[in-house]
């Protein structure tokens, strides 16, 4: 019902909107709606993908107002569906007050997107990138909810360094809102032996990014980090309660972006460390340890003309950074990694409409969730995506 109402609301706005944006007095209103189709020839990477599924969409609507020359308020409502994640439930995507003191210092308070890598903050906005999926090695959608946004405070700014370029920084502290039906919960269930997640708290989150606009025109380097403590409760397959703590759940991303005319070259490298402590009180069982994950990708995108661009990327992901060939575990070798070549085409039909097509040729199945698909018998597989986006 909620979905129906917001869809009607957005389409109503589309009809009212003749130009790029809608302005209700001093309030700016912008929005987007994307509908995709996903199909895999082998695995249910996300639920429904093997048979082909339209359960891939996003919808956002935001309102912003500048109250004074230094103070701005804004909120974005958002709904999305990706297999069995999201289910088009409307949430507050971001909502914050932004106070600008000087170029080198501003403060924000409210719910803000977390600065991780080049694209975490805009990962749900299809219009700002060439491809449909961001490379899953660094922007794994299962972990999106843990890393997406922080309810708290932020300081940010830009510092000129003369001939050395300039630094842009953003630091945030607060709590992340992770729900029991989130991708993160699905990720925990994928560990095996767990039937249900009843509670996830992520009350302490620190994140930050420093971006260096180098003296070489078009070259940007950045390092970003998120560290959060998570407390998870649920039940095992035998309906026995358990408590799982991730302290910390930390990830660091090193990023490079080079823009030369219509060419964009991107490289990102991520190291994730999870210190876990599992306790099952009924049998007094405790297990602690550290998991180290690794992902990276390199990509090139080129805009051939006003309406067409293409991109290709290569991506690798390992859920155990110290066992990249699978030799240290009893699983199949190709369960230890996921390597992808991604081809993307983007057509800008006009300033408001975008159509995309994408092919992922994948070696390995490290990121396939066991509860989605437990047949790990095929090493090389494909997934195809198509998506249409309207934005204003």
């Amino acid at each position: 019902m909620k979905k129906k109402i917001i869809v009607q609301l957005v389409f109503g706005l589309f009809i009212l909107t003749e130009s790029f944006a809608f302005n209700a007095g001093a309030v700016d209103i912008h929005g987007f709606i994307s509908q995709g189709y996903m199909k895999s020839d082998e695995y249910d990477y996300f639920v429904g993908m093997k048979d082909g599924s339209f359960q891939i969409n996003e919808l956002g609507l935001n309102f912003s107002n500048k109250l004074t020359k230094r103070l701005r308020l804004g909120v974005q409502f958002f709904a999305r569906d990706l297999g069995n994640i999201g289910n088009d439930e409307i949430v507050v995507d971001w909502a914050y007050a932004d106070y600008y003191f000087w170029e080198w210092l501003g403060l924000r308070a409210g719910r803000m997107k977390a600065p991780l890598g080049l694209y975490n903050e805009s990962r749900d906005v299809d219009a700002v990138r060439t491809g449909v999926f961001l490379p899953q090695s660094v922007y794994f959608d299962i972990l999106r909810d843990s890393l997406l946004a922080t309810n708290g405070i932020c300081m940010y700014g830009d510092i000129g360094m003369g001939v050395a370029g300039s630094l842009s920084y953003q630091f945030q502290a607060g709590a992340n809102n992770v729900t029991n039906d989130s991708g993160t919960a699905q990720g925990v269930i994928a560990l095996g032996g767990i039937s249900e997640i009843t509670s996830i708290e992520a009350n302490q989150s620190l994140s930050g990014r420093v971006k260096w606009l180098t003296p070489l025109s078009g070259l940007t380097l950045s390092v970003s980090n998120i560290s959060l403590d998570m407390e998870i409760e649920g039940e095992t397959d035998f309906t026995v309660p358990f408590a799982l703590e991730y302290k910390p759940f930390a990830t660091t991303v090193y990023s490079m972006e080079y823009i030369w005319n219509d060419l964009v070259i991107t490289h990102e490298y991520e190291r994730m460390t999870i210190d876990y402590d599992l306790f099952v009180p009924a049998i007094s069982y405790r297990e602690s340890g550290r998991e180290k994950l690794l992902g990276w990708y390199s990509g090139v995108a080129y805009r051939f003309c006003d309406w067409f661009e293409g991109g290709v990327a290569y991506s690798e992901f390992y859920d155990k950074a110290d066992d990249r060939d699978g030799s240290a575990s009893d699983r199949l070798k190709y369960q230890a990694f996921q390597k992808e070549i991604i081809f993307s085409l983007r057509f800008d039909i006009n300033p408001n409409w975008i159509v995309k097509f994408e092919d992922h040729y994948i070696d390995g199945n490290n990121q396939v969730m066991i509860q989605y698909d437990d047949s790990y018998d095929v090493r090389r597989w494909n997934l195809w995506l198509a998506k249409v986006t309207f934005m204003f």
Binding site: F20, M112, S122
Partner: protein
């Protein structure tokens, strides 16, 4: 021997053709007139750095460094011929990347979509009538009520 000479001539022709193509790509941008950065004529500021122009048009610099810390009001002219040259020169992005940058800002809450207008006449009228306004035009446009900023680096 003749055939070898032929190859040599062909090769020279090819090199010449490649050079011509390279010139065709680069010469228009070299011969294009520079974009003028204009501000309201009442502005006490007469010069600006390229970095400040970039930070203004990327939404990072919101106030002028004058006594009143006047609000910066920048305006775009995306349909004008000089727009591509302006964004490439001052923001180091293509027009498409610049538009994508602002979509990113708007949909992450970091900024509000800049005001856009359609012609040099409108641009000059807006800048001349608005305190703190800054824009750009191609040389040759009538500059009534606006001042051209000197770019200092």
């Amino acid at each position: 021997m003749n055939s070898l000479s032929g190859v040599s001539i062909l090769s020279k022709k090819s090199i010449f053709a490649v050079l011509l193509m390279i010139l065709a790509v680069f010469v228009p941008s070299l011969t294009k007139a520079e974009v003028l950065i204009i501000v309201n004529a009442k502005s006490p500021l007469k010069q600006i750095s390229s970095e400040d122009v970039m930070n203004i048009f990327l939404g990072k610099k919101l106030t002028w460094e004058d006594e009143k810390s006047t609000e910066v009001k920048f305006v775009l002219m995306p349909e004008a011929e000089c727009h591509e040259e302006f964004v490439k020169k001052f923001t180091k992005k293509s027009a498409a990347q610049f538009k994508r940058y602002w979509n990113n800002m708007v949909f992450t809450g970091k900024g509000m979509m800049p005001k856009s207008i359609n012609s040099a006449e409108e641009m000059i009228r807006f800048v001349s009538e608005t305190d703190g306004a800054i824009g750009y035009v191609a040389p040759g446009a009538p500059l009534d009520g606006v001042a051209v900023m000197d770019i200092v680096d």
